[in-house]
Point group: D2
Chain length 379, copies 4
């Protein structure tokens, strides 16, 4: 694969590289790692990439790689840039005949993501999106249990994603990760809601298989001088009549990365916490709650496929991230071998998830601007 972005000092680029490497089926062989050719080459050198495949721009990379013999060029690109730079390399790569795996959110705004879908469809190439939290085994188990009807009709969903790292104005103190995320020109219409609210939205729709029909939101920028929301509270109504709460925050002082979800149906409930991801608590109308655990023999096929070790050997964030890469690569292999891809490898986020995310951002921003008016999430 070739990487766009992820040069020295970046956080998510290193995560993507580990995720790609874990299963030893994907080689990072090219990259346009940074905004200047010098930095890109310096980053590539550290990564043991051949000098001639460390490119100055993504355009240069895609042109040069496309000119290589088919068995030597990269198969796909991984996009790990700030949000405003997701669409351009994705578009060009697809047009040049490369598959694309992109960091989320899919694009800078909703319209762009719809355009991208058209480009993907026209290209015949694959597009994946690293909504990585759906890569966790117990999240997959939760989805399969809902789909199997174990919970009955879903009534209530509580999904939350509190963090504390933006509780002060660190974007004004040189914190690179904070700078672009709080900059409307690079991050898009939302801050917290785009960065992590979309993960919460995606998780809820992924597990339940339900679509949010409408929502209302109250977004706030608590930190003085901050240009985008750093906290938001959202009420949800799902298409089947279920109700929900989604709240996300980057000013919850001292909280790390506590994405969690609770889902209640007519017959059972589920609870999952990202910071202890190998446990799924299942509660029933009668009888004791159960602790389902990653790596156990009683899990279903999707969860089992997402585990690399037996129960009690905790797998974490990087392995969940790697599961996106693993399935995406499996899909490419199947397609390129002319085979029908298995359901297992098809289990990764795609452009439709990306469009939902962009629609979510647009809806919460719109709703909040209207004083928390109900807003359809129709995308």
């Amino acid at each position: 694969m070739g990487m766009v972005g992820g040069g020295q000092g970046a956080f998510i680029g290193a995560v993507h590289r580990i995720a790609a490497a874990i299963d030893q089926k994907i080689d990072l062989v090219a990259g346009a790692f940074s905004s200047t050719p010098e930095k890109s080459k310096a980053s590539g050198k550290e990564l043991l990439i051949a000098d001639e495949r460390c490119y100055g721009t993504f355009e240069e990379m895609l042109n040069a790689e496309a000119a290589l013999p088919a068995d030597q060029r990269i198969d796909f690109i991984s996009i790990v840039t700030p949000n405003h730079m997701h669409f351009p390399p994705a578009k060009l790569a697809l047009e040049k005949g490369f598959h694309v795996l992109s960091d989320k959110p899919a694009c800078f705004d909703l319209q762009q993501s719809k355009d991208l879908k058209g480009i993907i469809d026209a290209s015949g190439k694959l597009y994946g999106l690293t909504h990585n939290y759906t890569g966790y085994p117990m999240v997959k188990q939760a989805r399969d249990m809902v789909a199997a009807g174990d919970l009955g009709e879903i009534r209530k969903i509580v999904v939350e994603y509190p963090q504390g790292w933006l509780a002060t104005r660190i974007e004004a103190e040189g914190a690179k990760q904070a700078e672009w995320r709080t900059d409307p020109k690079r991050s898009g219409a939302a801050g917290c809601m785009g960065d992590i609210g979309t993960h919460a939205e995606n998780l809820a729709e992924y597990i339940t298989g339900l679509k949010i029909k409408e929502l209302l939101a109250d977004l706030t920028a608590f930190v003085d001088g901050r240009l985008l929301d750093d906290d938001g509270n959202v009420l949800l109504r799902f298409e089947n009549g279920a109700k929900g709460v989604l709240h996300a925050s980057q000013i919850s002082v001292g909280v790390e990365n506590n994405l969690s979800i609770r889902i209640y149906g007519e017959k059972a409930g589920l609870e999952w916490h990202q910071v202890e991801p190998n446990t799924l608590t299942v509660t029933w109308l009668e009888g004791p709650a159960e602790i389902w655990r990653a790596g156990q023999g009683y899990l279903g096929a999707n969860a089992t496929n997402a585990c690399r070790t037996p129960a009690g050997h905790p797998e974490g964030y990087l392995e969940a991230f790697a599961n996106i890469y693993k399935n995406f690569a499996g899909h490419i292999l199947a397609v390129e071998a002319g085979e029908t891809p298995s359901d297992l490898v098809m289990d990764y986020p795609k452009i439709d998830d990306g469009i939902r995310g962009m629609a979510f951002i647009e809806a919460v921003v719109h709703s909040s601007a209207q004083g928390a008016a109900w807003t359809p999430l129709g995308a």
Copy 2:
């Protein structure tokens, strides 16, 4: 004391009696325990109450007790009836010169609670309300830490109270506790929101010392045939600009009684869970999270006053409930001795908390009926 309600088979009456008994300063010596004189006497007999002080009605009790010599009559009554029967005995007792400790919510509706405040003021008697969750030591510690400024200005509050016991229509199957709580004639305008939502509201305002300025709510009756809400999601705006989420549910299958609260200020955060009530987690802008524990020497005066055992000897629901009785009784003793009551004994919920609760019920019901419109909580 004398009890109104709490006959055989009642849940909360037994809780009140234990709460009153724990500290060995309050004797239950009279009661109108049930709606018929026979049942009342039978209940009283089980409770070792003298037969002549087991009354058929609260009116009978209050008249008879008022006629006793001052040193023989009850000091106060404890009201443990369904909601619609909170106001009448409270009113009469106050008018007859007895102090009143009432189960929550204070009254059947907001206007009634305002009327009650007038009656209290006119009577010169004391009125307490068993918002028992504020009796927990670590809740008191949380309040004191907020008041001391340890958290800085408060920004975000998440308070929730999920239960699962009404996930099916047990009110149609003879479940006495469910019957009256789901009956608008006895419970009032709200079901879940009145029964437990008010506890969440009270907890948030108690700990933070902030008032909810306005809210919007989306209430649902999920169970077919149910007449009152069994689930509700509420967005909060506090008078200082803080934002919040309050959700409560009685259809969260398999969940017991998981009242919990998280509060984030500019400098620190707090997290408390009723099912593990002896722990308060404190998170800071920098440095490790801290686990503050009931019974430890480092707690403040209010929390310490609320503990009966050293750390590691878990205290629970009944002890927290007893703390309301203990402080209320302490206040009575001080007043009757002509002394200025200490701040410690003054720390129990009073009619103003009751009015806030009734206003909360009225506001969430109104807001939800208007499609989740922002509604002031002005009471």
Copy 3:
């Protein structure tokens, strides 16, 4: 009841009084609360005890009460003195015709406890011992599950009781609770092992129904100048071939009161922690672990009898303690009514448990003195 010990400043006396009061069936009406008549009367006055029944010594109390008409005198005494003063009042009370409920360990040494058994048998009176941790609902549930064969033959038991409060030499700094516990003349042959090791031993034998056949122990006094062990590690062999580990400590810095037990049979395992007492984790050969909870409808009769509130209303140390009082009082009532006591009320620790505890102390002290030699626990 009448109390021996428990005057102002005592810890365990107050606990006993609350435990007796919770269920409103036992009245504290007399006491010899302290070593001087003045202090005893002062303590009794605070407790609202009639002045003439605040006695200067236990002998005085027992003589005076025995002289009262049968329907006016106390039914039983509660002994809450340091260990060396358990036997004398127990003996005299039994001989005077009173039932006895004593704090643990039963006596000062093993022989004394065997003597006491003879006295009990001869008296025809009841004797209970407050190994209070067996009063927890989920401990009772665990015992019933083992007895029902849910775990299969028991193989491994790990029981531990770490505390940290004696990590420094607070007995030299005026800490009253520490003074007598570290004094061989008042505490007996062991410190930590007598104070809390016996609780661990009792818990293991209570839940499993198995007897420790032999043990070896390595006891240590870590704190300079301390006269009795403040830490001990013990290997256990049970009569059925099960093996175990018991460790207890009072120098585990920062640990509160973490009695816990894990039991593994051929078919299932159990785990219980005193600091979160309402949860019993059950693990199986196959399938998810289960979280059994106090107050749930699926519990057995003994556990249900030990709960006062529905699930999710945490009960704690005082309620567990009260369960000893409740069953002991129930036993007295049955006996005095000439009825056969139910199995439920018979479920409290008696002199045989006390003898086992004294034998345990003697065995661990002997074993450790012999360099950790296997020592039978034959009592």
Copy 4:
């Protein structure tokens, strides 16, 4: 690197490969993966290893690789065979000039491990041992806190490693992982104690920097027909006077892989659990317990070096394992570059740890055979 063992169906081989791959500095390019050339080639093909470097035996691999030009041959071998096959390839590889990274325990018996040390010393090559649990960031943090004196003099250590997977005789039902581990010819003198007891021993000595001076052990084979211990309880005495308990089990039904350790000094205590590895609880003589977390800015250099993601992005077993590979590879790079290796890269288990482990096995087996006699751990 080249791998010895780890063919199709093996557990730990796949773990080593992921651990080597995560940081993208180590390429697996050769292997003798299985006991037959056909199986080895089939395994290698799956792993995308060039056919000519899939060898039939480790001897073949080492001879062939040694014959390659220096810049083409492997740098080191990774040994992932059953215990009886650790020594032979290690010896030959060292003699042929390759570094060696071996799974634990180091050898089949103590003498062999001492011989190996001689061979290592004579070879001038590096030898690492995958006591992988010391690769966790919070374990390193614990060690650094002890070394810095934060706990004061260490008094008490409780280390345990319960599992449940061998609670029935699965070795007789075709479970490959169980077969060799319960076979004295392949596993060595101990079963449970060799497989996991050594991890517990290593963890305790690693964190505390203390050596076990003597121990006594009671080992049991609970499952009928099993030839080696499946459970063991051990008392420890450390060279500084600290006391300890070590217990390990493979018959603790339903328990996954619950290695944990608690350490108490004069001033503070530490608690760490492998199943929630990103948390280290620190307890103090006074003040609240603290929750130290992986990825936080306040950690020391060794822990920080062992983290790949910020706090709240859980890292797990594979990352901890990878930290052994990372530091070992860093040491090789430094040595081969003629540089002094940093303290950071030197932080991985070496032959001295291996000898301690073999001595531990020998000591516990000896002690148990002598009826739990104190046995020095003098290696």
